[in-house]
């Protein structure tokens, strides 16, 4: 097998593993916070519906975590198996956050075990809630540390390369690279946002399928409020990410925006098709690209042609669609939650309509699509580099054969795990619906409107 082919197959396998893992990882980061908020609201309002909400979410959460542990272990080891040359450099420069991630996960796993197996063990619910704090912190910290490694791949610093030798390594400088603040904030905020919309989707599904219980309305309203908060946060961070890209990775921004000529007052291209350098059928938002990149319309944004003249490798232009998918979904979800929250506050009844609940149902899956699009965008947008300006993806790949066989093997595994998760989760909740569990637990409190 040629080197090029092996590198390509390694990319495919990594793409498969990461695309699958990110779904579980996102849930793993975001859901603990949602459980925590629900349990806290329940304690504060003395409303057992919210406590039960936390309990039921925790039960489903543990299943996704278990699968996430498996896929996380897989990607952790696959990095060394498929990209040994990259990991050799990474081990020298950016091993610290990787190492800290295992500690964060250790911490999370321990307290998750304790939290799950100690429901009702404490008289005081607040003590039990305290056990969840390390879980949520550990989960968020894991994502922070891993995202730091990804940020480093985009904006490597903290070392020097001299005749192929790494010298003058500064691990902290490598961690605090320019890509890190926006990237970390974006990943964490979108994980919270996605989980809020996912849990809202489930509530919407239950209401649409005929359940009249106030429990679901409470869950829906709480999650839409959180969804709104985190989508606003995401939009703000997205704006900063644009400014980061303009400054440090202009080729990624230019390719994402099909921005060919360097110019001031640059407009933002949305959708469309490309015919040579001509953009057809696109929506142009005047000045928006200059504002995204620099904050003012009059600033110049560097275009693809100028970068190419200076021998900067340009990533594939189809990342434009990934970028559009991510941003469009993000904005739509922000709008959806805004409308819902305002309407609920003003008492407008259209949010009770079937068509609107159908939109709410779509929110969760769409958020997951946006997560996938976002990661594909940032990874493909860094090509041909694995470590920008230092090592290409080609150079990093393994020389070992058999990657094709592994693609089949892991592909099968992910299909089974994915189907298994869905089957087990639906079966678990269907066998024990909220109404039944509430009756069993004889919950009397919690009648007030949420």
């Amino acid at each position: 097998m040629g080197f090029e082919e092996t590198a390509f197959l390694s990319r495919i396998l990594t793409l498969m593993t990461l695309s699958f893992h990110i779904l579980y990882a996102t849930i793993g980061v975001g859901v603990p916070l949602m459980i925590m908020i629900a349990q806290w609201v329940g304690i504060k309002k003395k409303d057992d519906h919210y406590i039960l909400m936390a309990r039921r979410w925790a039960r489903g959460f543990v299943i996704t975590v278990a699968v996430g542990v498996v896929t996380g272990t897989i990607i952790g080891l696959q990095l060394s198996l498929l990209w040994p040359n990259f990991m050799q450099v990474a081990g020298n420069v950016i091993a610290l956050p990787l190492f800290m991630e295992t500690f964060a996960f250790f911490f999370e796993a321990i307290f998750l075990g304790i939290y799950l197996y100690t429901w009702d063990r404490f008289e005081d619910q607040r003590k039990h809630l305290l056990l969840l704090i390390p879980v949520a912190l550990g989960a968020a910290a894991s994502s922070v540390f891993i995202t730091i490694v990804n940020a480093f791949m985009n904006a490597p610093q903290g070392f020097e390369m001299l005749n192929g030798q790494l010298i003058n390594v500064q691990p902290l400088l490598a961690i605090f690279n320019p890509a890190m603040p926006t990237k970390v904030a974006h990943v964490v905020a979108t994980a919270f946002m996605t989980c809020a919309f996912l849990l809202a989707s489930i509530a919407a599904l239950r209401i649409l399928s005929g359940s009249k219980h106030v429990y679901h309305k409470k869950a829906l309203y709480l999650m839409m409020k959180l969804g709104l908060v985190f989508s606003i946060a995401t939009a703000l961070i997205g704006d900063f990410s644009g400014k980061y890209l303009a400054e440090y990775q202009p080729e990624k921004l230019a390719a994402a925006e099909w921005h060919f000529e360097t110019e001031a007052n640059a407009g933002l291209v949305m959708f469309g098709v490309l015919n040579g350098e001509e953009v057809k059928y696109a929506i142009r938002v005047p000045y928006a690209l200059s504002i995204l990149a620099h904050g003012v319309p009059s600033e110049e944004v560097i275009g693809i042609n100028e970068l190419a003249e200076n021998d900067v490798p340009i990533p594939p232009l189809w990342i434009h669609y990934l970028f559009d998918t991510m941003v469009t979904i993000g904005m739509s979800l922000a709008a959806l939650s805004f409308v819902y929250v305002v309407a609920a506050w003003r008492g407008w009844s259209f949010i009770q309509a079937k068509w609107f609940r159908f939109l709410l149902l779509l929110g969760g899956p769409l958020a997951l699509v946006a997560i996938e699009a976002g990661w594909w965008f940032t990874e493909v947008g860094r090509q041909p580099w694995i470590l920008r300006n230092f090592m290409t993806t080609q150079e990093a790949a393994t020389t070992s054969g058999n990657v094709d066989l592994m693609i089949i093997l892991f592909g099968g595994l992910y299909i089974i795990l994915g189907i298994g998760t869905i089957v087990v989760l639906t079966r678990m909740y269907r066998r024990n619906p909220v109404e039944q569990e509430l009756a069993q637990r004889q919950v009397q409190k919690g009648g007030e409107q949420g």
Partner: protein, 342 residues
């Protein structure tokens, strides 16, 4: 103590923890499947659910910790082992996924307790050590060759070598022995006499095979890697202590006395043997290509990793203590009197 030795000692210690807690986990799955096969299922299922379900993720982190730490402290291992281990490590990952998904789908979730799944879970517990342990054989040299400047694994040599198979067999017997001794103690604590009796029989049954295969490996090494064999002989007294501890465990189990102490002696036995083996392997990570010195990371990374390790341990040890107090040393929980699962 140099940074290199400190680094490898920390990693070896975590690998040792993984060997112990992993063995308990793997073996329990096998015994569970075996008793399902002989229709004694319910004797073990409860014990496994009570102990293994809350801690298996923690078990898994020991493994992740080892290989992430390895890349951190000895980045060059990524190049040698990463390139050559693609197939065996991928198989191990698949097996690990079977185990993880069993916990996710069968014990946490909708309780899919299909027999086939129980057998798969049990079998994966045996196949997993069998797929991981050949790495130890590889590290003895002779199986990885440099072809066009890149390391390649000679599968034929690896799988026809008696050394490989002795290590695989040792890993299996050790897994079953460690697991049986631990579960005897746990079942006894839970006051489950039937399970205690059954597991005690397993423990006694697997004791001799474990010690025989361990001795077999040392004999194999004599022809395979004379340098390593000589260093093992220099440390004969450590292996002697290990053997004495082994006899202590067997004696206590035989006499049905102090199962807790028996397990502690067993940990001691494996600890001395594991470290004696590790020390005799020094300084090689991979004979003859790689030593801990030429693969070591730069000094600033090493120091920052060690600082992170100490800080992390400060967080981890109290949490682990809490976990074990709740699920291992809490009488009511172990006996199944209290069930507070979400």
């Amino acid at each position: 103590m140099t940074l290199e030795i400190l680094g490898i000692a920390v990693l070896w210690l975590f690998l040792f923890f993984y060997v112990i807690v992993g063995s308990i986990d793997f073996g329990a799955g096998f015994f569970n499947a075996y008793s399902a096969f002989t229709n004694k299922q319910h004797i073990l299922t409860n014990i496994i659910q009570r102990y293994l379900s809350p801690v298996w993720e923690v078990t898994n982190v020991f493994f992740v910790f080892f290989f992430v730490g390895m890349i951190g402290f000895f980045p060059l291992t990524a190049y040698y082992y990463g390139t050559t281990l693609l197939v065996p490590a991928s198989l191990a990952l698949i097996l690990l996924s079977i185990r993880g998904s069993y916990y996710a789908f069968a014990t946490y979730g909708a309780k899919i307790n299909h027999r086939g799944y129980i057998y798969m879970y049990g079998l994966s517990g045996l196949l997993l050590p069998a797929s991981l342990s050949p790495v130890l054989a590889m590290s003895e040299g002779g199986f990885i060759n440099m072809v066009n400047d890149s390391p390649q694994l000679d599968y034929w040599a690896l799988f026809t070598s008696p050394l490989t198979w002795s290590i695989v067999v040792l890993s299996l017997t050790a897994v079953l022995y460690i697991s049986a001794v631990f579960l005897t103690w746990y079942a006894n604590k839970a006051g489950d006499e039937k399970a205690t009796d059954l597991l005690r029989k397993y423990a006694l049954g697997w004791a001799a095979p474990a010690i025989i295969t361990a001795t077999g490996i040392i004999i194999e090494l004599r022809t395979h890697n004379a340098e390593h064999f000589a260093r093992i002989m220099d440390l004969w007294w450590l292996f002697g202590i290990s053997s004495l501890l082994f006899l202590g465990t067997v004696f206590l189990i035989w006499k049905r006395r102090k199962y807790g102490l028996a397990f502690i002696l067993l940990v001691g036995q494996f600890f001395t043997a594991f470290f004696a083996y590790g020390v005799s392997h020094y300084p090689y990570l991979l004979y003859p290509h790689l030593t801990i010195y030429d693969s070591f990371t730069n000094e600033s990374m090493a120091i920052s990793l060690i600082i992170a390790f100490v800080a992390g341990l400060g967080l981890l040890l109290p949490s682990l203590y809490l976990l074990f107090r709740l699920f291992l040393f809490d009488k009511d929980y172990v006996k199944g009197k209290s069930d507070y699962h979400a």
